[in-house]
């Protein structure tokens, strides 16, 4: 995961002059020609919709079949401020994101450290690493349904909890307003923690072993070596990983749509799901776009943070 995969921009080989065939065609033009299809595609299919979502958020749409748009300025955003469901969604989303990110980081770090130890056999380590990545291959919907079966009132988890006396009687985890959001968090933690494990493992492998040897000579114990070498050197990758996780988790939709549809009693409604509800059930594009814009603003703050760190990582 180290040298071979580096994509540092600095390392890009400088194009050599004599590489160009002699001719009237300016050599750099070929380069632009080659990136053009991808760039045009991205401009059309993502930059334009991104611009469009901001524009739509200033309009009100009336009529189901033939939508007529009226410019209403900031009205949609003003309505958002007193929209109780919006704030419930915001609260649920933040609980979901923060709990997920913390649990992901802890579990990912523990497994990354475990896989980074000296193992009796490297083959065994690679096998365990492969097995621990498996949940990441599941789609959110598929992972959600597996856990819906496990967390069912008649399922094995309830059986074990009741049989061991932890619970008095079985709980329908997804059907109870106190537990439903946490059940979704559990599914997301199970499905996505391998991302952290792999990222952090890659980070651990870049720490020079000499540092640990030197610390050992100086009498640092295992915990001190972890606190004063591993953690500081892993800080940037840990922050970058959590920032990415924050952004991807912030848009949670699949899980909610598949498992709970926001219920029971709106206890699992998230911003992503609310956007879809407003846009596609109520067919209120302007208001839906306003919710999206509010999400994008919150995320770009995180993104700004992330890009700054990315730059620091690249240029040290």
């Amino acid at each position: 995961m180290t040298e071979q995969y580096r994509t540092d921009i600095q390392d890009t080989p400088r194009p050599r002059r004599h590489l160009s065939p002699k001719g009237k065609w300016p050599r750099q033009a070929t380069g632009y020609l080659m990136i053009a299809p991808a760039i045009i595609f991205l401009l059309l299919v993502i930059i334009y919709p991104l611009f469009e979502v901001f524009r739509l958020s200033f309009f009100e749409f009336t009529g189901l079949r033939d939508q007529t748009a009226t410019f209403v300025g900031l009205k949609n955003f003003v309505s958002l401020m007193d929209d109780r469901i919006y704030w419930i969604s915001m609260k649920n989303t933040l609980i979901f994101v923060i709990a997920t990110v913390i649990l992901h980081a802890l579990i990912g770090l523990v497994f990354a450290l475990a896989l980074h130890q000296r193992w009796p056999s490297n083959r065994l380590r690679d096998l365990v690493r492969g097995l621990l990545i498996l949940p990441w291959l599941f789609s959110m919907a598929a992972a959600g349904l597996v856990w819906a079966l496990l967390l069912n009132a008649l399922g094995p988890i309830n059986y074990l909890l009741v049989a061991s006396g932890i619970l008095e009687r079985a709980i329908d985890f997804l059907g109870d307003r106190d537990t439903a959001l946490w059940a979704l968090i559990a599914v997301n933690v199970w499905k996505s923690y391998p991302f952290y494990m792999i990222m952090l493992l890659g980070g651990l492998q870049t720490i020079p072993p000499d540092l640990y040897a030197a610390a050992k000579v100086d009498g640092a114990d295992r915990w001190q070596r972890f606190a004063f070498i591993t953690l500081p050197l892993m800080r940037s990758i840990l922050v970058a990983t959590t920032a990415i996780d924050f952004i991807t988790t912030f848009g949670v939709f699949d899980l909610v749509r598949t498992l709970t549809n926001g219920g029971p009693a709106r206890s699992t409604i998230t911003l992503g799901y609310y956007t879809w509800l407003v846009g596609f059930r109520d067919v209120d594009f302007g208001y839906g776009a306003a919710i999206s814009v509010s999400m994008l603003i919150i995320m770009s703050v995180a993104m700004w943070f992330y890009l700054r760190l990315g730059r620091e990582m690249i240029y040290g």
Binding site: I47, G155, T206
Partner: protein
């Protein structure tokens, strides 16, 4: 206690990993493996045994009676086959399209001086991280206006946008590692740029292309958001959405849900077994590297 054990370990010349920390690590990993593998096993078990075993008290931890009812039901239902077909079509097309566009762009970024290349590459990566759900409304509008709503093309294009960023990054780092001398030699021998790309770089790039395609395939396979808003009805529905629909029905057919779930996941696990290195590389490519 700890130091006594360590001392004992040294006295008995035990292997270095057999320390108290080694034991704790092993226990944690064992718990981790159970939590990871049990749900997967439970899914496969539930798909191939009577429901009474899955929901018994206590449930049967291993299948006693194996039936293929759920799978026979799926394979004899044209609709179910259609869902699978749709998923394959969308995923394969996304893989081909994003690798094609990605390889060309990656070559351009790697071998030519592009004005603002760093900014463009960082922006592409940032855009790719946006949750799809935040642009579903303009996506829907755009697809409607372009007349591609409720077509494979709409879903393929949406998935490609998100898979393309990773493709460009992965392939660029791969091309960066291929020496330019080979191409120079080919050009001295009279190849033009595209011939040298086709004859020299492409064969060397083959493993990179396979890996990148895998990643794009995986992304499209598991997409749910775009498949929800860019189509209607059952004709173009992929497996992810179909499984979800099963669940919302009043009478949950857990056998069928888990059979479909197994069939939606096993191909990915099979791919992963063969292309593990590439999947892992794709996972970390999203992070601008260490």
């Amino acid at each position: 206690m700890v130091s006594a054990l360590g001392h004992l370990g040294r006295r008995l010349r035990m292997p270095r990993y057999l320390t108290i920390y080694g034991v704790i690590t092993a226990i944690l990993l064992a718990i981790g493996l159970i939590v990871v593998l049990f749900p997967i096993a439970w899914m496969v078990f539930a798909s191939m045994r009577p429901l009474s075993e899955t929901f018994g008290s206590p449930p049967a931890w291993f299948p006693r009676e194996v039936t293929s009812t759920a799978y026979t039901k799926i394979f004899s239902d044209p609709r179910q086959l259609r869902y699978q077909f749709n998923t394959y079509i969308i995923s394969l097309s996304t893989a081909i399209l994003s690798v094609g566009l990605g390889a060309l762009a990656a070559y351009g970024f790697s071998r030519f001086k592009i004005w603002g290349a760093e900014f463009i590459l960082l922006s592409i990566m940032a855009l790719q991280m946006l949750p799809g759900v935040s642009i579903i409304i303009p996506f829907y509008n755009l697809a409607r206006r372009a007349g591609v709503w409720n077509t494979y093309l709409a879903m393929i294009m949406a998935d490609t946008v998100f898979a393309l960023a990773i493709s460009i990054w992965l392939l660029k780092s791969y091309i960066d590692s291929i020496p330019t001398d080979l191409e120079e030699a080919a050009m001295v021998d009279g190849c033009n740029r595209f011939q040298s790309l086709y004859r020299i770089v492409l064969p060397l790039l083959a493993p990179g292309l396979v890996g990148t395609a895998t990643f794009a395939f995986l992304y499209a396979w598991n997409d749910f958001v775009f498949a929800t808003i860019l189509r209607d009805g059952h004709d173009l529905m992929p497996m992810t959405v179909a499984i979800g629909n099963f669940f919302t029905q009043a009478n949950r057919d857990w056998n069928a849900i888990m059979a479909l779930n197994t069939m939606a996941t096993l191909p990915l696990i099979a791919i992963f077994v063969f292309l593990q290195r590439w999947v892992i590389q794709g996972m970390t490519a999203g992070a601008l590297k260490e």
